[in-house]
């Protein structure tokens, strides 16, 4: 029996209080801090469904989503299919995307568990020290993406470094693209919004440093490809790059060549 409404119900702390206690909750995007705090205070295990949690064939998602669809959201469905979850909370506000809104409906239709939507309009920036730190870019991205599961900012705050390269965009599904960047890479775009815990801050998302060579990255089939391409056109030394499920050798070669030919790496 299919559920009647296509739009999953809104999620709030009040709503969560009415439901039975959860042990494992999947989140998509960045639900508001008060929701995350509610889960943290009850020691609920949060699974970031945008991340690569399950290494199995993406074809399992084909009955639920078109193959030509954002690889991160296909990964959300893949994770949800394989994890034992009590509920899923999907941020569908301006801090995420329309595609996630539709995926929320798919999840609600597919799984016999509560699927709820949030609208994250948080405006209290907590800072983005890791985006500006001297640190391996992959490790940096892990710290930032792990931060989505906590209502509090990271306990440590590394010193900022002088940037020699920039990475603008969302955390990629496949982190292997990050291995070519120098440790002195600063992170911009939605990832910086993410660390700041203000995912809907469009001005911060559009910010970049025109003085350093910057890769403007988006997942193929993501609406953010338009913004990435626009900003890359405005930046004097930019590479626009979109990558689907896995990073192809040509995409890796483009990043490596761009960073070397612009002097960001030797």
């Amino acid at each position: 029996m299919k559920k009647k409404n296509i739009i999953p119900p809104a999620c709030s702390v009040l709503e969560l209080n009415r439901l039975k206690p959860f042990e494992n909750v999947g989140i998509v995007g960045m639900p508001p801090v008060d929701v995350i705090r509610y889960l943290n205070e009850r020691q609920v295990v949060i699974h970031d469904l945008d991340a690569l949690l399950v290494r199995t064939d993406m074809e399992y998602t084909a009955p639920y989503l078109p193959r030509v669809y954002c690889a991160v959201l296909r990964t959300v469905v893949l994770n949800a299919l394989h994890l034992d979850l009590d509920a899923i909370i999907v941020d569908t506000g301006p801090g995420k995307c329309n595609s996630a809104f539709h995926v929320a409906a798919v999840l609600d239709d597919t799984f016999a568990l509560p699927v709820m939507c949030t609208r994250n309009d948080d405006r209290a920036a907590v800072g983005a020290p890791f985006c500006r730190a001297r640190m391996d870019l992959t490790e940096k991205m892990v710290v930032i993406t792990e931060g989505v599961k906590s209502a509090d900012p990271p306990s440590s705050s590394p010193d900022p470094c002088k940037p020699t390269a920039g990475f603008w965009g969302v955390p990629p599904r496949d982190f292997s693209i990050l291995s070519f960047f120098p440790d002195t890479t600063h992170v911009y775009g939605w990832t910086r919004c993410m660390e700041n815990k203000i995912p809907a801050d469009a001005e911060l998302e559009a910010y970049f440093n025109p003085d350093i060579p910057t890769v403007f990255f988006a997942q193929t089939f993501c609406a953010k490809t338009a913004l990435a391409k626009l900003l890359a056109g405005r930046h004097p030394k930019a590479l626009f790059l979109d990558v689907d499920v896995n990073t192809t050798s040509s995409a890796k070669a483009k990043v490596q060549a761009f960073l070397e030919l612009t002097g960001a790496i030797t």
């Binding site: 030394k237 590479l239 040509s250 490596q256 060549a257 030919l261």
Partner: protein, 219 residues
């Protein structure tokens, strides 16, 4: 020191220890399995060399050495893919590498020439073109045209022009293209590009590899 550009269909070598170093070429299918060089580039290059330089870097360094203009577009059309670098005021402005949608264009052109026993330097550029974004998928246009009474040579010419137009659009439709790769020797392809074309030949990547090797040696 031997440099090698290990392409999908052909491999090019340059022995810098020779008094007058000039490139040599061999079909990739004839490549000895135990061959080893100091520096390599190309799809097959990593397993045959002490050090590997990726093809876009080799192309860009080759362009920097060969082209004496601050602003230019350098396009390399290989067997398997097309790639380009655009320079503005002597610095990298843009680049692209189309290994998926531009798949196997050069290789398909060569196969068609043999199968239909054509000479691309004898074929006129056709008025019309096929919309071709992929060598393999584009073949169906040829077969459909032949079914409808078009000669094999005309159908193939439309296909080649379609590939040229696709490559031209891929590099953002410039007024002039510096062309690298084996297709420099294909007059039908070159004349199908709707802009001024400067043919640099098939050894641009090898030249770029030489530049990279010299930079490496200089520390």
């Amino acid at each position: 020191m031997i440099l090698g550009d290990f392409g999908t269909s052909y491999c090019k070598f340059l022995d810098l220890s020779e008094a007058v170093a000039s490139p040599t070429i061999m079909a990739t299918k004839d490549l000895p399995s135990d061959i080893h060089v100091s520096f390599s580039t190309g799809h097959n290059g990593k397993r045959f060399a002490d050090a590997y330089v990726n093809e876009l870097i080799a192309l860009a360094r080759g362009g920097e050495a060969l082209i004496k203009e601050p602003d230019y577009v350098l396009l390399d059309c290989g067997s398997r893919d097309i790639k380009y670098v655009q320079y503005e005021n002597g610095s990298l402005k843009d680049m692209g590498w189309n290994a998926e949608c531009g798949a196997s264009m050069g290789f398909t052109i060569e196969l068609l020439e043999r199968y239909y026993e054509l000479d691309y330097n004898e074929l006129a550029v056709p008025e019309q073109t096929f919309s071709v974004t992929c060598g393999v998928l584009g073949m169906s246009h040829i077969f459909d045209a032949i079914i409808n009474g078009v000669s094999g040579s005309e159908a193939v010419a439309k296909f080649v022009k379609g590939i040229a137009i696709n490559a031209f659009r891929f590099v953002n439709s410039p007024s002039k293209i510096y062309l690298s790769g084996g297709l420099c020797d294909n007059s039908l392809f070159v004349n199908s590009l709707p802009c001024k074309v400067v043919r640099l030949g098939r050894h641009v990547l090898l030249r770029g590899l030489k530049e990279s090797a010299e930079r490496f040696a200089a520390g």
